[in-house]
């Protein structure tokens, strides 16, 4: 029997998680990525940098976020006790800000005056615009035209924060195209620009550094669970688009063998319809946006369009660490479709008075299925990665209500 790997020892020096990850970009960006990696490796062990990061997380973001026992909902589900990691209570309303705080600190250390970001649901765009406003940095957010329509409130928030929202009209006009456009901007303005990638994808070192910044979620949850439940959780559940909230929760638990983990992808209209955003469930390995990972692609290696009610999960790729954890079998990747996510959105709102983001509602939907199969003395932590305020218009539209 082979010993299990030390999950926390990855990526390797060149940014690989097994066959996944790496740095697949055009030559113009290689120097910038080398520079970023060197700076990050230096700062991540620098006590002053860590202290600055922790200070901002405590006083600006409002961390630690609570681990909340959803008692009424757990009772209704009739199985394991379900705890919610309340990333929705963070400043700006989602986990995204943990990462933008970290990357903005890096940008400051590197003397960059201009930041760019891609966004799908707008949460990462808002989180980027927020830290840019605070540090006085020029901020441009690339957003697909389709997402701009779906997420009007966040677009306006970004504008109020002083960011320039750049509509992306190429391809499927969603998150992947926004990322293409951000890469193009970065190649053009590489000298003075810091690219704040919003998820654990992209070329090395992004999947590593975004994970490290988001791992605060899992570190807190682990400590809180030991204290509040008296033991480690039996299962973790998080939604996976690019996968930053999921890896943030999972990573500190990876070497805890007894903790099961479920990453929930967006099944859109259903995996069997082909209209979904679930590369780990129904895709295959390829190279996009600077890393090798599971992708939604056709037989000719062209990336295909994804479908999900949630703009933040509407992405054809996934972070390379997730691809690796899938192949190793450490994390189970499952999917929830639009209907299941919407039902979960309504249920959690009605039963607990907590309105999840449609992205997070996918995790809630899986917890609904999982909890009844477990014993009452078992514990599940669901990452409530964001709040649902931004999705009210989408849900209202589905209900046929106009404001």
């Amino acid at each position: 029997m082979t010993e299990r790997p030390d999950y926390k020892a990855f990526p390797d020096q060149r940014g690989h998680f097994g066959q996944f990850g790496g740095r697949f970009v055009s030559e113009t960006l290689m120097a910038a990525l080398d520079e970023l990696e060197t700076m990050y490796r230096r700062l991540k062990d620098d006590p002053q940098f860590q202290a600055d990061f922790d200070y901002d997380l405590a006083h600006y973001v409002g961390r630690p976020s609570p681990l909340y026992l959803a008692e009424r909902w757990s009772r209704e589900l009739g199985g394991a006790r379900v705890w919610l990691k309340r990333e929705d209570l963070n400043h700006t309303g989602a986990h995204k800000v943990n990462n933008t705080i970290g990357q903005a600190l890096l940008a400051k250390h590197m003397g960059k005056k201009r930041v760019i970001a891609e966004t799908g649901a707008g949460q990462h765009g808002v989180a980027s615009a927020t830290v840019a406003a605070r540090l006085g940095l020029e901020c441009h957010v690339f957003m697909g035209e389709e997402d701009i329509r779906r997420q009007r409130l966040n677009v306006y928030r970004m504008k109020l924060l002083g960011a320039n929202v750049v509509p992306v009209t190429s391809g499927s006009r969603t998150l992947k195209d926004a990322m293409n456009e951000a890469m193009r901007d970065w190649v053009t303005n590489v000298d003075d620009t810091f690219y704040i990638i919003g998820t654990v994808a992209g070329p090395h070192p992004y999947p590593m550094l975004v994970r490290d910044f988001q791992a605060v979620i899992g570190r807190e949850a682990r400590e809180q669970c030991l204290k509040q439940a008296g033991k480690l959780p039996d299962a973790l559940v998080a939604c996976v688009g690019g996968g930053s909230n999921a890896i943030g929760l999972f990573h500190p638990f990876l070497n805890d063998d007894g903790v099961a983990m479920y990453g929930v992808e967006a099944a859109g209209d259903g995996i069997d319809t082909g209209r979904h955003a679930a590369p780990l469930s129904a895709g295959r390995p390829g190279v996009l946006h600077g890393n090798r990972t599971y992708l939604m692609e056709d037989d000719n290696g062209q990336i295909i369009e994804t479908h999900s009610v949630s703009a933040g999960l509407d992405y054809p790729g996934v972070g390379p660490e997730h691809a690796w954890l899938k192949d190793l079998g450490r994390v189970q990747y499952v999917a929830a479709n639009d209907q299941e996510a919407l039902a979960a959105f309504r249920e959690l709102t009605m039963v607990e008075g907590i309105m999840p983001a449609l992205e997070s509602a996918h995790a809630v939907a899986h917890a609904r299925k999982l909890a009844p199969t477990m014993d009452k003395d078992q514990n599940i932590i669901v990452n409530l990665s964001g709040r649902g305020d931004k999705d009210i218009l989408t849900v209202a539209e589905i209900d046929g209500i106009e404001f």
Partner: protein, 268 residues
């Protein structure tokens, strides 16, 4: 000797510089590409870079992005592009053809299968924009063993140390990207290019082609004076857009642009 080496050796003897057009294969139809390749050779092209369309061309500006969209709509795939090269080779056994594109279509076809198909079709070199030398150690031998040149980009941001390692991994020629940006963007600064090419020459033995920002006969001439070859892309590809409804006009329009450049470059 490979067709690419042969080509640069011959040009060297004649004290001429390589004219290297890039077009996106299958743009806007599958039928236009092979006749366009022949017309470009006729007009003075020395090497042809044939673009393999990709759904997410991250290093390209709007002109080539739209070309990719048109080509994919027309049904172009990597397999089809290889067939085009095979068809071109029936009438031309000397002009080198380099396939240029993104990694994923190759990744899905499989590296060994792709390299075999390149040999069978008569492809001489491969330039994969998002495959830096660091990531291709495992697959590079598959191409080398088959005599396919791996061509790499060097950017304004590339350090001297990287130029050395890129040159060690590359064969055929080096492609110097003259501006920071995507294809078809800013205009280049000839003096800056001259200085950079000089630096690369001191660190690498291969011929150096320069691309990005070459728009007309004048810029082609200026760049040819300081390098071994001139790569021209967006200005040709924009002809496919302009004549999308009259595809028969595309090859002559591309040829006319290249003929002007050729004449300017060959002026003593």
């Amino acid at each position: 000797m490979s067709r690419i080496q042969d080509c640069f050796a011959r040009l060297g003897e004649q004290q001429r510089k390589a004219l290297i057009p890039y077009i996106t294969a299958g743009d806007p139809t599958l039928e236009v590409t092979v006749p366009a390749m022949h017309a470009m050779v006729e007009a003075g092209a020395d090497v042809i870079e044939l673009g393999v369309p990709f759904s997410d061309p991250m290093a390209d500006g709007p002109v080539i992005q739209k070309a990719c969209e048109r080509a994919l709509r027309a049904g172009t795939s990597l397999t089809r592009v290889l067939e085009m090269v095979g068809q071109f080779r029936r009438d031309n056994d000397t002009t080198p053809v380099v396939l240029m594109g993104y990694l994923n279509p190759v990744e899905i076809m499989g590296y060994a299968r792709f390299a075999d198909a390149c040999v069978a079709a008569g492809v001489d070199g491969v330039l994969l924009v998002d495959l830096p030398p660091e990531e291709c150690e495992d697959v590079a031998p598959l191409f080398r063993e088959r005599g396919i040149d791996l061509i790499f980009l060097i950017a304004p941001t590339t350090t001297d140390a990287r130029i050395r390692s890129i040159a060690a991994a590359a064969s055929g020629y080096l492609y110097y990207v003259s501006v920071k940006g995507v294809t078809g963007s800013a205009s280049l600064d000839v003096n800056e290019v001259a200085a950079r090419v000089e630096t690369i020459r001191n660190l690498a033995q291969l011929p150096i082609g320069v691309g990005f920002g070459i728009k007309d006969a004048q810029s082609a001439q200026a760049v040819s004076r300081v390098s071994d070859g001139v790569v021209v892309g967006s200005v040709l590809v924009s002809q496919a857009a302009e004549h999308e409804q009259h595809p028969e006009k595309i090859a002559p329009a591309m040829a006319a642009i290249l003929a002007d450049m050729r004449a300017a470059m060959d002026k003593p």
